[in-house]
Symmetry: C2
């Protein structure tokens, strides 16, 4: 089913995004143009504190024009491993250091046009060190019990795909009978 690249044209090279137009040939011979957003890979975390609460964040998202309730996440810098990025983003966004990190799954957020692949970690054994938000980020930390987080997902008050799939994945496959829901 692989598509063969016939030609590729760079449109924009920015701070985070690169846009390119790839002319591709399908196995059936049809030629079309794919508009591709090249985005660095990323990480997201489900940080569970010593009281069993999930550390989440409220953040204004300009593309959504609203404040979204999300799990901490961020983009991998050059030469950074997913684990290093996860530790850095957790500290910057929430102020917590994680003694234990465990990758639970990875996924593409918008594979119709974006190359972004995100690795999701469970972060436990947390120690508070102090939030180190970047100048262009405004983040408010919100701690929720798993039951509260699940209720907000059910009511669709959580509107971020990575947050919905990460919390449900964690509860469904990693938390059976451990924390009372």
């Amino acid at each position: 089913m692989r598509e063969e690249v016939v030609s590729s044209k760079a449109i924009y090279e920015g701070k985070i995004l690169r846009i390119k137009l790839d002319e591709v040939k399908l196995p059936n011979g049809y030629v079309t143009v794919r508009e591709i957003v090249e985005h660095p890979n990323a990480v997201a975390l489900i940080p569970i504190d010593n009281d069993g609460k999930i550390i989440m964040i409220n953040q204004y998202r300009h593309s959504a024009q609203e404040v979204l309730l999300e799990i901490p996440a961020g983009t991998m810098e050059k030469n950074e491993t997913p684990e290093e990025c996860a530790k850095r983003e957790l500290l910057e966004e929430t102020g917590y250091e994680a003694k234990k990190l465990k990758k639970i799954f990875s996924c593409y957020l918008a594979p119709g046009y974006s190359t972004e692949f995100i690795h999701i970690f469970l972060a436990t054994d947390l120690i508070y060190k102090g939030q180190k938000t970047e100048a262009d980020e405004q983040i408010k930390v919100v701690k929720l019990s798993l039951k509260e987080a699940l209720e907000k997902i059910k009511k669709n008050e959580v509107k971020d795909a990575k947050t919905i799939c990460s919390i449900l994945f964690f509860i469904y496959f990693h938390n059976k009978n451990k924390i009372n829901l």
Copy 2:
């Protein structure tokens, strides 16, 4: 927490994507540039056939450079409602007509840079009419029991965020005790 747009510059206007650079002022006075991908809103479906199987698709994704197992989905055309789009995409991609559609939730796929907001529908009472794939799409229909789909999610063989969150959301909130897992 709202960011005020100071200036906006269009970079690219394509078939599906539009790229713009918005200079924004944060409430703390800091001014920065947000790279925004404007993408039409979209729909995805969890089609359940009369045997209780989920109709999924295998599709080569150029941005991921691999074949992904996903639920049917697509972009809303102008003047199309989410329901109309859902029916059209289900028919085109799988060949099934749905007598019953029920929206279960909506979410942003990549709110850090993309405006895309996707509505997820449960589709039941299906009748096979014949697949009508578009020329630039190569799609192979795959029918899985909920148990099989869940096993593939657990093993991370499903790598598409909308597919993971839609199936887990459906199973967690809409299928309690109804279909044997």
